[in-house]
Symmetry: C2
Subunit: 404 residues, 2 copies
């Protein structure tokens, strides 16, 4: 008998059949003797539909009414799940964000959870109810409905698990768990049974879309165990938890790739302080995020600055950079959309020297040229020509012995 928080992805809640399947799964856990708190997302596509509706009215909809609008998506699934469980003969008690209450700050569309009062939910559980909570939404100190931003239901679930002292926060997704590599690329990719918060944060930042980064940071801070698993099968998924000795022994946990970035190279600018700062500040002012950054100085006293931005920002970033580099008298400006970022992540890198070297050697042996390198304590990422993406992933998966 444990207290379990279960969060369901929107694609598991589209249509009566899937909602009934989710209800069956909830009931199975309840009948196994667990206290169950369910966090519902909006049906897949619903939030986009609401955003599109708002955009027919205003080019840049925002503010409290926008949050009010978006919050209806989860309200619908909460209502339908409640009706379903009740019709199956179970006692279900639903909560919108303000009914819990889940108190947030007042930042519209990207609010942060400040506090959760678990008293009402605890009472319901004590009385034998299954509790259903609307994810993604809360209430600010002035009584406005707020929303937590894309993927916010993950954060709702983790925060509820923490507030209730749940044994585990189960995230029911559309994948079986976290794999050593994309199974579509590596046939022998293996599901990872257990992974640390830090590794998962690196993976989540690098293209694994399975969990929202903010939820992970919250889980790490409060040491909430997360079980990432499939809403469409019964198999065990991946447990995201605190580090243990076993995890530290694994040098590389997984290989990920990301094709969503593009590269801009500024060639031959005078190597004076502040050049990179000026370009990057101007991009930041335009709300363009820069990921990898490399600068090298040639013997002629001219520097090359290379960085990556999201492909969707490339056009704008190229224009901004072009203006500045003309002023600075750069020799050339190159944009390249055909790059891919390949990363290896693993706690064991901290204690095992030469991991990066093994990675570069393996890539070189397969004639894959490395354009940029970026590292953290538990990650090495390289930018390569996009066409070698799948090859590079397979090579590294083999090199670090990740196959099943």
């Amino acid at each position: 008998m444990a207290l379990v928080v279960q969060k369901y992805i929107g694609s598991a809640l589209v249509g009566a059949d899937r909602i009934k399947q989710v209800a069956e799964r909830i009931v199975a856990s309840y009948n196994a003797g667990n206290d169950v708190v369910v966090v519902a997302s909006a049906m897949a596509g619903e939030t986009d539909r609401l955003i599109a509706q708002a955009r027919t009215i205003s080019l840049a909809p925002e503010g409290r009414d926008y949050d009010l609008l978006l919050a209806t998506g989860e309200q619908v699934t909460v209502g339908l799940l409640g009706i379903c469980l009740t019709s199956m003969g179970y006692q279900a008690r639903s909560y919108l964000g303000w009914q819990v209450p889940i108190t947030t700050d007042a930042v519209p569309a990207r609010a942060s959870i400040k506090q959760i009062d678990p008293a009402g939910i605890r009472d319901d559980l004590r009385r034998g109810s299954i509790v259903i909570v609307a994810g993604f939404q809360g209430i600010d100190s002035r009584g406005n409905v707020t929303t937590l931003g894309r993927g916010g239901a993950d954060t709702s679930a983790v925060a509820l698990a923490e507030a209730l002292g749940a044994e585990v926060c189960e995230l029911y997704t559309d994948v079986e768990g976290v794999f050593t590599a994309d199974p579509a690329v590596c046939r022998d990719a293996r599901k990872i049974a257990k992974i640390s918060y830090d590794e998962m944060l690196e993976l989540a930042g690098l293209g694994e879309k399975v969990i929202q980064i903010r939820a992970l940071e919250y889980a790490k801070k409060y040491q909430v165990d997360i079980h990432i698993r499939s809403a469409f099968s019964d198999s065990t998924g991946t447990l995201v938890t605190k580090e243990d000795a076993y995890m530290e022994g694994v040098v590389v946990s997984g290989v990920v790739y990301d094709k969503s970035e593009a590269k801009i190279a500024v060639i031959g600018v005078p190597d004076k302080p502040g050049v990179a700062a000026r370009i990057l500040t101007t991009l930041a002012d335009a709300d363009i995020s820069v990921d990898m950054i490399v600068q090298n100085v040639s013997q002629t006293g001219l520097a090359d600055l290379t960085f990556t931005v999201a492909k969707s920002d490339l056009h704008q970033a190229y224009g901004i950079t072009g203006e500045i580099t003309r002023e600075l008298g750069a020799q050339n400006l190159i944009a390249d959309e055909h790059i891919s970022k390949i990363s290896i992540v693993g706690l064991g890198m901290r204690n095992h020297a030469g991991v990066a070297a093994r990675m570069f050697t393996a890539l070189a042996f397969n004639n894959i040229n490395i354009q940029m390198i970026s590292t953290s304590e538990i990650k090495v990422a390289v930018a390569i020509d996009e066409k070698y993406t799948e090859l590079a992933v397979r090579v590294l998966h083999d090199t670090f012995g990740l196959a099943a």
Copy 2:
């Protein structure tokens, strides 16, 4: 400068163009110097869509989760209207039922408003905001979201007008107002400028679908002036208000018809006490409403009982009545779907004798046979063969001089 409550019908809120038109109308009233409180319905068809969704999950969805689900319809339009007004540069403040709060009893799907706290709305108006309130919804004493039943936004609007002491409650509908007869049937039907609560209640009970009866009863009780007008034109509509000397001088205000009922006649039952009671009680137990009832006794000591039910209830009502009449040994049981109810309504009937007689004479003169009669203080209704519906309406419209 007045305080005005404006309620918009769902068909005026479908799609960006119509929402913008509604916003223009709100702003026009605001710019004319009025304090404006807007009550929004769900988009036309939205509540049906939500009900259909719930029915894919449960055959008879009900309870707090069902109300939670249905309440999203108005939340969407409130959000969109707020976004629209804000994008036009106006200060708008939106309220869901629980945010006002609009306190109701705890009857799910058909809650009644108990109390409205207007303090927050008054503050907003003082600060120059346009206020938008979600119709159809409230909150019960335990913090559950409740809904007021079909057409409940009318009641929300009237109750808000009363709580705020508004000068008028404007109901923006899809018709130009209340007419002396259906303009589709009588080309010379005239829009009624002013009508009493009691007359409007009779008309609303007789087929005028332009306003919810509960809202009218509320308006009558608290003497709230209602202006029924079109959301799609600028012309003045019909003012529903308390009686005055002029209204009492008008013998007949309007003629209405209703084709939604069917007739059941029980022929030749022993004329003993309790026969009608037994049939009507059994129908009531089956949740079937009976409208007109006529019983006449022949000289043989046998009675005929005739009554009308909604056409949609006819099959079930016929079966129930058949069982009882077999037991009672009735001679015959007849069902007739081809009837129509024609009614004349007018305050002046109280003081003018012979109104019913003029009605019956006019119908007889046109060879329209009267099958049943039912009267109230300010109404005479007859059931006739359905095929004479339009003829009867025109004849009576002429007879009582209602033409423009």
